[in-house]
């Protein structure tokens, strides 16, 4: 078996294979030279303190040794031959497989303007190390994009004493994920902590000048930054699969059990587009727990299991002292109920078609379990709103 992607999903695919009794060879092919490591802290505590790969390793070297995993790190996959069943890595080497797990995740989008000079992104430990070195008190950081990564980087930088501005085309942060009302809560939360938010306006031009990077916004605002971070989303890392016969459509298209269109090939993690029966929705989920559960599940499927993968998605974000936790789906909600519990805690429920589908809990972790159960059981919207 071959796992491509030195990632959370890749490691858990190995776990899934071994726990179901597979005793044959496993090779892990990863583009980065490090053992697979954990990415969420890279925009939070590890960004604040300076990233250390030792803190972040998902598993120690001994874990791979004990499971008999051959590691091919620093080996980027560049092609896949699904007829002859081999992966092609940079340099031309071929890695043959009987069964393959695709877990290459996503790559950050970058600003289109080449004149922007060095614009930071946060995806790898090298990215976070470079940014950490620039986060010095008194400097002005401009973050493009008020998504989760952007807001986390903004909060971390603010805590380190930088001046922080965020530019966002939507009317408030996170509106594409959580809708307007919850988005406004995040807007207030960040503004109260000294972040300048420029929402509802786009970045027009960006250029490097003698005094810093000059950003002109569509509404006429001009910002001069000491450093710029782009948090404008990610795209599935599917380049190496073009022409391989694996069906692609904004990710790797999988069936309910995570099989791709190619025989003997499954996929797991951010890269997967599949139909989640519980929500009756085709989705691609860029979240930590999804990578864990999907990795294990894909490993089982590769060994012949047939169960559909239909979880309630879960993610978290930490911004200042807000512990943000979300279960389910908020997209295309036709009913939203925001309950402010205090100035630092809130719950927002999202419903569609008469049932509860999502719950956002800020500094209210105990609420998560009951709403997750309600979502799993497709509890009626009216009953769910009364649960809290």
């Amino acid at each position: 078996m071959v796992v491509v992607g030195g990632s959370l999903a890749g490691v858990n695919a190995i776990e899934g294979l071994r726990e179901r009794g597979y005793q044959g060879e496993i090779t892990l092919v990863g583009a980065e030279r490090h053992l697979p490591y954990d990415r969420p802290p890279l925009s939070k505590q590890e960004l604040r303190e300076g990233p250390s790969v030792g803190h972040l390793l998902l598993k120690p070297q001994s874990w791979y040794d004990e499971r008999g995993v051959e590691l091919r790190l620093g080996a980027r996959a560049v092609g896949l031959d699904t007829r002859d069943r081999h992966v092609i890595v940079e340099g031309g080497d071929q890695v043959a497989y009987d069964g393959l797990v695709i877990a290459t995740g996503c790559s950050p989008r970058r600003l289109g303007q080449p004149e922007a000079g060095p614009v930071h992104v946060v995806r790898t430990i090298e990215d976070a190390t470079a940014l950490h070195g620039e986060l010095r008190p008194g400097r002005h950081l401009v973050v493009i994009g008020a998504g989760f990564i952007g807001l986390e980087v903004a909060a971390t930088a603010r805590e380190l004493g930088l001046h922080v501005s965020i530019v966002e085309t939507a009317p408030a942060p996170l509106t594409r994920v959580l809708g307007d009302e919850a988005g406004r809560w995040f807007q207030e939360y960040h503004v109260d902590r000294g972040v300048d938010l420029f929402c509802g306006t786009a970045l027009d031009t960006i250029e490097v000048t003698a005094t810093g990077t000059r950003l002109s916004l569509a509404d006429g605002t001009v910002l001069v930054a000491d450093l710029v971070v782009a948090g404008i989303g990610v795209t599935p890392a599917t380049d190496w699969l073009e022409g391989s016969g694996v069906t692609l459509d904004n990710g790797v298209v999988c069936d309910r059990s995570l099989r791709t269109s190619a025989p003997g090939v499954v996929a797991a993690g951010d890269i997967v587009r599949w139909h989640n029966d519980l929500f009756d929705e085709t989705m691609r989920v860029e979240q930590w727990l999804n990578a864990v559960e999907q990795g294990v599940h894909a490993g089982h499927t590769l060994l012949g299991a047939e169960e559909p993968f239909a979880p309630v998605p879960y993610f978290w974000s930490d911004q200042f002292d807000a512990q943000v936790r979300f279960v389910g789906r908020a997209d295309a909600a036709d009913a939203v109920e925001v309950q402010r519990l205090s100035d630092r805690s809130m719950v927002a429920l999202f419903g569609r078609g008469g049932v509860v589908r999502g719950a956002l809990c800020v500094n209210a972790p105990r609420q998560l379990a009951r709403y997750r159960l309600a979502i799993q059981q497709r509890v009626a919207w009216g009953d769910a709103v009364g649960v809290g």
């Binding site: 858990n12 954990d38 727990l289 879960y314 512990q323 279960v327 972790p365 105990r366 998560l368 379990a369």
Partner: protein, 68 residues
């Protein structure tokens, strides 16, 4: 075969995954935002739940031990 669960509360970040994956074994304290261990020695029937709870912890602070 007895199992023992331990949580490093110092490093717990209150992600609440353990409580969602294994509600019989873990709870969470809304005031402190930290996990609460409900069952220190899970039964054999609870083994799978315990393993799921440990694996799902983003902070990797839950340990399962065999103690004889």
């Amino acid at each position: 075969m007895t199992m023992k669960i331990t949580i490093d509360l110092e490093a717990c970040k209150g992600y609440a995954c353990c409580m969602m994956e294994a509600p019989d074994l873990f709870d969470i304290d809304d005031a402190t935002g930290k996990a609460i261990l409900l069952v220190e020695h899970p039964t054999e029937d609870q083994r799978e739940q315990a393993e799921r709870g440990a694996r799902s912890c983003p902070a990797n602070v839950i340990t399962l031990q065999q103690i004889g």
